[in-house]
């Protein structure tokens, strides 16, 4: 009885690829997500290298050339109401628009995750206190909140970014809180406690490792919303100020020309649409690529 050999069938050695490597592989195979990523890369690169890429000065226009149609000589995408080259303005506008789309989400990602994880891990009345406070902000429609905050703080790029950050903290904190709460009662957290991990280690290693993925996916989908809201603020004169090119602002100033040159006037809107749908598709692809486990 004492020496029963434990039968262990020979198994082919499996060299496991890292988790993120797997996610990457699956993402690359996703054609839609890759197309979206290509569009985003193209627009981002064009925006970064705007001084080289843009054919003309985005701020200099000749009034004689105002509102040229798409395809006119020297101005492939036409000109705006002040005779400035649309292509150049769209390329330069990508800088501010992308900045205003991404920055608030990145900031809110860190702040909202921290708030949600603390609330979810602490539980009890701490959770109630934090999450009800978050709910107060959540209760306002996001557009209204952004407009109200920007209006109160005064127009300008910094204030617009700040108010958008505040708008995105509650939804991110909600997601972080619900994922953390679900994790808190999971066996592996208890197993970690049983192996002597303190609260800090558990949050740093086990909670963060499992929570950041889902929040990240959610946050990428918010970039599109952020861009649209930022454009909205600029449209209302609360974000970027003229003559700086920004897609929302361009949409606003070209609004008067909608009957004269509808296609030119629609171009900034088309850019906003293209970028936001690309972010959404990429985030969808990321979500399904991350479901490798289980």
């Amino acid at each position: 009885m004492a020496d029963i050999a434990i039968a262990t069938p020979p198994v082919e050695p499996v060299r496991s690829a890292g988790y993120w490597q797997n996610v990457g592989k699956r993402l690359i195979r996703d054609k839609t997500a890759m197309a979206a990523a290509a569009v985003l890369a193209l627009i981002t690169l064009a925006a970064i290298f705007a001084p080289i890429v843009a054919p003309m000065d985005p701020l200099q226009g000749r009034l004689i050339n105002r509102l040229q149609p798409i395809g006119s000589e020297g101005h492939i995408l036409g000109t705006d109401e002040l005779g400035r080259d649309m292509l150049s303005r769209l390329i330069w506008g990508g800088r501010l628009s992308l900045l205003m789309g991404v920055t608030p989400v990145v900031l809110a990602f860190f702040i909202g995750s921290a708030i949600g994880i603390i609330a979810g891990y602490a539980g009890g009345w701490t959770n109630t206190l934090i999450m009800r406070t978050v709910d107060i902000f959540y209760a306002f429609p996001s557009v209204l909140l952004a407009v109200a905050l920007s209006g109160a703080l005064g127009a300008g790029l910094g204030n617009a970014l700040l108010s958008l950050t505040v708008v995105f903290i509650p939804p991110i904190a909600r997601v972080a809180e619900s994922v953390t709460t679900r994790l808190r009662s999971s066996d592996f957290i208890e197993a970690a406690r049983a192996s002597g991990a303190g609260a800090l280690t558990i949050v740093r290693v086990h909670v963060l490792g499992n929570v950041l993925g889902p929040i990240f996916v959610y946050a990428t989908s918010l970039i599109a919303v952020s861009m649209i809201l930022a454009s909205g603020l600029s449209f209302l004169g609360l974000g970027v100020r003229p003559p700086n090119p920004e897609w929302g602002l361009m949409l606003n100033t070209l609004r008067t020309a909608i009957y004269a040159q509808p296609w030119v006037a629609a171009l900034p809107g088309a850019m906003i649409f293209l970028v936001s749908i690309s972010f959404n598709l990429l985030s969808d692809g990321l979500r399904s690529a991350m479901e490798v486990r289980q």
């Binding site: 029963i4 262990t8 198994v11 066996d187 208890e190 049983a194 192996s195 290693v205 499992n210």
Partner: protein, 330 residues
């Protein structure tokens, strides 16, 4: 006899979170000697897991009340502060869980999880910790251990995962291993392998083991001694041999009779204990088993029932042991 490595004295656990307090564990005393394996058996909700979690102080502090005394290696577990508790968990006593897929963190490789646990307790380098992880994987008989260290939990089979979890639990060389139904989630052929592995590790490393299960067969396979729990109390404990051969508590008698083993003949009826376990929030007076007991009389339904010593190391919490002895003889 030397002092037991783990000594639980008059442990009581009451959960106070709900509307009524639930008395999950009631006056439990249990000793485990160094290098001894003790199985706790009983049906769901009998307080097996709660007793074990109490040893690690894992029950939620703010929603449960602990009474009694728990000594591990001469130290009072109840008196440990947060810091000492962290040092105690994992290094002195470690735990294995029922479902390894849920008890292992899905986003880290097993090697990383073991290295992380070792380095939490000991100031050694990553390389040294990894070398020990490899050693542990070999010890728990994981084939091609080196490449398996880089696997994520979801890339392994159930039996392999349970071995990996045992390796993780042993990573800081604990002297006491608490196993919470370690084989329940595994299929039958893998179960016996894991049980044999536990038995072997216990012998080689001199581990004290508490093994919670509701499978009497598994308990007999692994344990030196068996304690039977019912409604938060240990109703009978004895060496595995004594308990199976000469059970004395009516509940143990019923439990053994109800095993499918003896009723494998087609058409024969499975002997079940009539009734259901009592509500722990509303325990009856006297013996909690009295309402279902075929021997219960009026005396069983009042006061508290003391523990009777039957022979060396064999005790039962019952007033009518003379009756069960007679039954046995007859």
């Amino acid at each position: 006899m030397t002092a037991p490595f783990l000594s639980i004295q008059n442990l009581g656990v009451t959960f106070t979170g709900g509307t009524r307090p639930v008395r999950a564990v009631n006056d439990v005393s249990l000793d485990v000697a160094e290098g001894e394996a003790v199985a706790l058996i009983g049906e769901s909700g009998s307080g097996k897991s709660v007793t074990m979690r109490a040893v690690m102080r894992l029950n939620p502090e703010n929603r449960s009340k602990l009474e009694g005394k728990i000594m591990v290696g001469g130290r009072d577990v109840m008196g440990l502060n947060t810091r000492a508790l962290s040092a105690f968990r994992g290094a002195e006593a470690a735990m294995i869980f029922q479902e390894p897929l849920l008890a292992l963190d899905p986003v880290y490789t097993l090697g990383d999880q073991i290295v992380e646990t070792i380095r939490r307790h000991e100031p050694i380098s990553k390389e040294a910790a990894r070398a020990r992880a490899l050693d542990l994987f070999d010890r728990v008989r994981i084939p091609s251990a080196k490449s398996r260290l880089d696997n994520y939990p979801h890339e392994m089979s159930g039996g392999m995962r349970q071995r990996a979890m045992i390796a993780l639990a042993l990573s800081c060389r604990p002297k006491l291993l608490l196993a919470d139904e370690p084989t329940t989630a595994l299929d039958a052929t893998v179960q016996i392998q894991v049980l044999l592995l536990l038995r072997e590790l216990q012998r080689d490393l001199g581990l004290s083991i508490i093994f919670v299960t509701h499978d009497i067969g598994a308990a007999v396979e692994v344990a030196d001694r068996i304690a039977v729990m019912y409604a938060g109390q240990i109703v009978e404990q004895a060496t595995a041999r004594d308990l199976i051969r000469t059970p004395r508590h009516p509940y143990t008698l019923g439990l053994l009779k109800s095993r499918a083993h003896d009723a494998m003949v087609k058409g024969s009826k499975l002997d079940a204990i009539p009734g259901a376990p009592p509500d722990l929030a509303n325990l009856p007076e006297g013996c909690p088993f009295a309402p279902r007991c075929f021997l219960a009389d009026a005396g069983c339904r009042t006061g508290s029932i003391g523990i009777a010593q039957i022979s060396e190391g064999h005790q039962a919490r019952c007033r009518r042991l003379d009756q069960t002895a007679l039954r046995d003889a007859g």
